[in-house]
Every structure is written in C-alpha cells, then in structure tokens.
Symmetry: C2
Subunit: 215 residues, 2 copies
C-alpha cells in the first residue's frame, strides 16, 4: 500500500528527482546559490529544463530538497512507530527531534543560512509535514474525522517552523535592549521548547479521544 504505483515508472521518477536535487545542491555549493541557472541543473541531471520544472517549482525548492528530502513523511512514520500508550505530546516531540537532529549535510545548511531566499524555502519545506502528520495524529486520536487533528498538525508544523527560524537566524545584532532575547540555543532545545507550548493542547485532545470509544 506504500507504493501503489507499479515499478519501473515510479523508480525512474524517483531517480530523476534525486538526480535533480543533488545536482542542484552540488552546483549551488560549487558556484554559489545565485550563480546556478535552472538550465544547468537540468543539464547536470540529464533532463530537459521543462522536465526539471515538473519536479520542482523553484530553484530554491530543488536545492533545499536535497537536505529536507523525505523528512516530512518520516516524521509521520516515526510518530506511528511510537507505542500507542505514550503521551501524544512526548511521542511527537521525540519523533520530530529524531528527524531534525540527525546531523544532515552541514555544509549545505551553512549555504542555506547564507541566502534569504534559501532560508525561506527551507522554512516552507517544513510545512510539508502537515499532511502526513495530520493523518498520523488523527489515527492516534482514533480516526475522529474531526478537523482537530488537522489543526494540531498544522500547529505543530508552525511550531517547528518557529524553532527553525530562530535557529537559522544569525545571532546578528547585539541583543535588543534588556537582554531579553536569548542567543538561540541548540536546535533540539529550540524544538523542545517550541513544542512544549503546544503540549497542553495535545494532552487535551488525547484525553478527549480516550473518553470516546475507539473505532
């Protein structure tokens, strides 16, 4: 059920997708993100420029995809893998940390930090967790069909986004007056505290689900 689509076809598609995003990243690292034309990427991957655009709808998307890859679906899978009796909030936090903590290509992340457009694309990519996550959460809550799971998933995605945003943000300015702004800690910490703010909502949803009969 994971791959309904037959064989060779899907296989080839995945291959070109990978070829494209890796070419994109490689060229971006090599020549700088602004000195890479779409045509170059397409050529490097051995497809027509038009085909490139069938896979990615912006240059930045392709570059960033080399880092984010299938992280989104993995988060959902990681959540589903946790024992059903663990607290939803905890399971979620662990699942997310597990995916965002693994030290992906550090060089690439540095590159992304550099360009505003790439940062933007990187943050947007995080939004892709929403749908898989909504499904996974809904399942945990007993397939309510309610939009609650969607809201929670969207909120979690938003929280992740905020955490990533803080993390990417160059420590830049000499801290605004009052010294209130924390110099942005490690990513795991940022993620944890962002998600902590949502924990009560997750708990509440879980509790309601348990009072309802499981299907």
């Amino acid at each position: 059920m994971t791959t309904r689509r037959t064989g060779l076809r899907e296989q080839k598609k995945q291959a070109t997708r990978v070829a494209l995003r890796e070419a994109a990243l490689r060229l971006a690292l090599q020549h700088g993100p602004d000195n890479v034309r779409v045509d170059d990427i397409a050529e490097a991957a051995g497809v027509s420029p038009r085909t490139y655009n069938n896979y990615f709808s912006s240059r930045e998307q392709a570059i960033v995809a080399a880092v984010t890859a299938e992280r989104e679906s993995r988060v959902a899978a990681a959540l589903a893998a946790r024992p059903a009796r663990t607290r939803l909030a905890d399971a979620l936090t662990e699942a997310i940390l597990e995916q965002y903590t693994e030290p992906r290509d550090h060089e690439a992340l540095l590159l992304i930090t550099t360009s505003p457009t790439l940062r933007e694309a990187f943050l947007d990519a995080a939004a892709a967790v929403e749908h898989p996550l909504a499904a996974a959460i809904d399942q945990r809550l007993g397939d309510t069909g309610t939009p609650v799971a969607r809201v929670l998933a969207a909120s979690v995605a938003a929280a992740v986004r905020v955490a990533l945003q803080q993390w990417l943000q160059p420590p830049a300015a000499p801290l605004t007056a009052g010294g209130l702004v924390v110099p942005s800690g490690s990513l795991p910490d940022l993620l944890r505290s962002a998600l902590a703010a949502l924990a009560p909502a997750l708990d509440a949803a879980e509790e309601q689900a348990q009072q309802r009969p499981r299907r």
Copy 2:
C-alpha cells in the same frame, strides 16, 4: 507611534496600494482571473508595471489583498482592545471572529473560490496575522521575550488557515465512506472549533504568565 513615517509620502503610498488592489479585483471580476495581465492592473492604477511589483509580488496577491486588506493588523488591534482580564483564548477567538465574520465583498469571495491559485493566495494571506498577533499575545503574557508567544501566534494562524481551508473547500465529493466528514459548516463555527483545539495551550501559557511577576 502608529505611523512613524511622516505624511505625504506614506499617504501616497497607501493610495497607490489601494488603487492597485482595487484595480486588480475589479479587472479580475470583469474579465476573469486568468484574463488579467499585470500591465493592465498597473495601467488601471496609473503606475508603471515595475512599480506594481514593488507593492505586490504576484498577481494573485494583489487581487486577494482587496479582500483581506489590513485584516491582519486589525486582529491584533482587536485583541489588544479586549480587557486584559478576559481569558486569552476567549479574547483571541472573539477578536478573530470579529474580523473574519464581517461580510466582506461576497462577489469577490466567490471569485476566489473559483481559482485554485487564488484560494492558495487567500490562505497565504491569513499567515500575515502571525507577526502582529505574536506581539499582541506577548504583551498579554507580560512581554516575556520568550518565543512562546510566537509559537502560539503561529499556531493560531495555522488554525485559522485550516478553518478557512475547510470553508473554501467546495462541498464537492459525496462524502467519504462512513459519513465522517462534516459538510463544512459556517465560517464562524469552523473558526471557533479550530481555535478550541488550541485553547488548552493558550490557557496554560496564560497561567504561567500570571505566576510570573508582570513587568
């Protein structure tokens, strides 16, 4: 303090901004969203095409702006206007409903429903609440400087987005198996129930803030 920028300059800018978005909407209604070129909009507003692009970074954005306008900042203002002693979750819900319930140009909304690209832009526009809202929430929580307010604001924005998405979604298909999917009620109801899922998180943040000394 609301408008630091002096007078004539900002006034003119606002004027052309309004002219642009209204021209965009009018032309879109008149000729259909796909039969409006950027040059037409610019000409109708009496500015160069290049200037148009200094105000809006996509055709859809301009059209949608005619409906969403300054709704975002108003939500924050509406929140700030509520008495500080009301429950944060309630104040927020009221503030949002207040802004999204007023029957804006119905004709335009119908148009937006029509085109996928416009729907997309409309949903994206809702994300603009995030920043003003974060500021307003942070103030209610006692200017913590913590990212908690940001996370909550982002979550609220996400919830609003989900509600709008359900609302825009044409009742289309004959309901999936089991009859679990509700035929998308009224917008106020959708917003209310979406925000209800976040209420526990808002309560918790508020409670923590009250235990901390106000600055």
